[in-house]
């Protein structure tokens, strides 16, 4: 009985091996390309060979063929060997356009500090820096600068109190970015009460 199982499993392994070996060169190139693409770090030919169960040499040949393909294609991307691994990157000549893109990137993305500060401003506006500090318990200067740069908040005049601190409120850009018609559209705690108490 045991023997039979062993033979069976050996057979299965064999089939799996055979399956592996029958990948065409094009298939190896495709899977190598996908793995290089999803990897956060440059990935080595050895690492790829271990995952897909092909010889390191076969994988290396596939990567080199892929690199030639990228070079001949003259597209927007290049496959390059770097730090002992392989990586897909944009072609150097295109850096100007890419830099331009990075500058115009949508600005709805926020760090947690900026999001917290924005939340306080949105729900407590008009509000001063000391008042934000009082609620958040943390200095918010750099978060406020970021929010001003992203034009999500605007100054709302000085508060007529000691030191006449500047007051802040949300901007029109804020409404657009968060898909709100006006400030009354901001959900209140009551709106979610039923959801949260569940």
């Amino acid at each position: 009985m045991t023997e039979k199982v062993t033979t069976e499993s050996a057979k299965l392994t064999e089939i799996a091996e055979a399956n592996r070996q029958c990948r065409t060169a094009a298939e190896i190139m495709a899977v190598a390309e996908a793995l290089v693409f999803v990897s956060d770090e440059p990935i080595s030919a050895k690492a790829i060979s271990e995952i897909i169960g092909e010889d390191k040499e076969t994988v290396l040949a596939a990567l080199e063929a892929l690199k030639r393909e990228y070079d001949e294609r003259q597209g927007g991307l290049q496959l390059r060997e770097i730090a002992g691994g392989w990586q897909i990157a944009t072609r150097t000549e295109l850096h100007e356009d890419i830099r331009k893109y990075l500058k115009t990137r949508p600005s709805a993305k926020l760090s947690l500090a900026a999001l917290e500060t924005l939340a306080v401003i949105a729900y407590k506006q008009p509000v001063t820096v000391p008042e934000i500090l009082e609620i958040r318990g943390v200095q918010s200067a750099s978060a406020i600068r970021t929010l001003l740069e992203k034009r999500l908040i605007v100054t709302k005049g000085h508060k007529e109190t000691v030191g006449r601190p500047m007051q802040y409120g949300t901007s029109k850009e804020f409404l657009i970015q968060f898909g709100l018609k006006d400030l009354s559209d901001l959900p209140s705690i009551e709106d979610f009460e039923d959801l949260i108490n569940q």
């Binding site: 996908a34 693409f37 999803v38 990897s39 956060d40 770090e41 897909i88 990157a89 890419i98 990075l102 990137r105 709805a108 993305k109 926020l110 760090s111 947690l112 900026a114 999001l115 917290e116 924005l118 939340a119 306080v120 949105a122 729900y123 009082e134 609620i135 958040r136 318990g137 968060f178 898909g179 709100l180 901001l186 959900p187 209140s188 705690i189 709106d191 979610f192």
Partner: protein, 256 residues
């Protein structure tokens, strides 16, 4: 009837709802948790292989109530919506038993007490199929991967916030703030008189008191301020002096 119900071999409490792509174009749900009363009702109708346009209401009502009883017995909390449906079914069942007005045109759908429920079931079933479609789409989508991180992502390693995030973050801040205020109120209990007492008791034990050491024992700004005022008050009203042994050296409070 009752006893046969108890012979079910499944465990309601451990089973969780799970979508299993069925052999037919429908969702098959493992027993235990139905997405709602309509879901349970559809299941029972299919079990009975009944026509949705001609539901055997007495039979289905019995089955429905049986399931509710099992769920209750097994301590599965039965949502109010399930009970509402039970009431609706009983109501329809009783209406069906009433003698029909013979003068009215027979077989008119409008008179059928089941009509509203059938419409509701048909409407619901569309969305149930849509849910199945969404499930299939997301399964396919999970086989597709996006690129790994690249250098330029770092400058944008931030979250894409929604209005819901704004509100939940704001609530968290308020909660944090409440705790802080509470702590401060507790701390505030050290009064000026108490602080003076504290300094004097320390002085009575020692010849002199190193103020830097004493201040560093204090935890909050408020305590520090109170201690500072207490020292000034003691020096003003009692025979005590502040002494600095060398320039920029530690300051001592000493009895004259």
């Amino acid at each position: 009837m009752e006893s046969s119900a108890e012979q079910f071999a499944f465990d309601f409490t451990s089973e969780t709802a799970e979508i299993i792509p069925g052999e037919r174009d429908e969702l098959r749900i493992r027993l235990g948790q139905f997405a709602g009363p309509l879901d349970l009702l559809l299941y029972l109708i299919k079990q009975e292989q009944a026509n949705i346009f001609d539901i055997p209401i007495a039979k289905i009502t019995d089955e429905y109530l049986k399931y509710i009883r099992i769920m209750k017995r097994l301590d599965v909390s039965v949502a109010a919506d399930f009970l509402v449906m039970a009431a609706t079914l009983i109501e329809i069942k009783s209406k069906m038993l009433l003698p029909r007005d013979s003068s009215a045109e027979p077989e008119t759908a409008v008179d059928d007490p089941r009509k509203e429920l059938v419409d509701q079931l048909l409407e619901y079933e569309k969305f149930k199929s849509a849910a199945q479609m969404l499930y299939e789409r997301s399964t396919i989508e999970k086989a597709v991967f996006r690129r790994g991180r690249i250098e330029t992502d770092d400058a944008n390693a931030e979250i894409n916030a929604t209005v819901f995030d704004l509100l939940t973050v704001f609530q968290k801040i308020l909660l944090r703030h409440k705790k802080q205020v509470k702590m401060e109120i507790e701390r505030e209990e050290v009064s000026l008189a108490e602080m003076i007492d504290r300094i004097q008791s320390k002085l009575s034990a020692l010849q002199e008191l190193n103020l830097i050491d004493f201040f560093s024992e204090l935890n909050t700004r408020r305590e520090l301020v109170t201690a500072f005022i207490a020292v000034l008050e003691i020096v003003r009203t009692q025979d005590l002096r502040l002494i600095q042994k060398q320039t920029f050296g530690d300051i001592y409070l000493r009895r004259v």
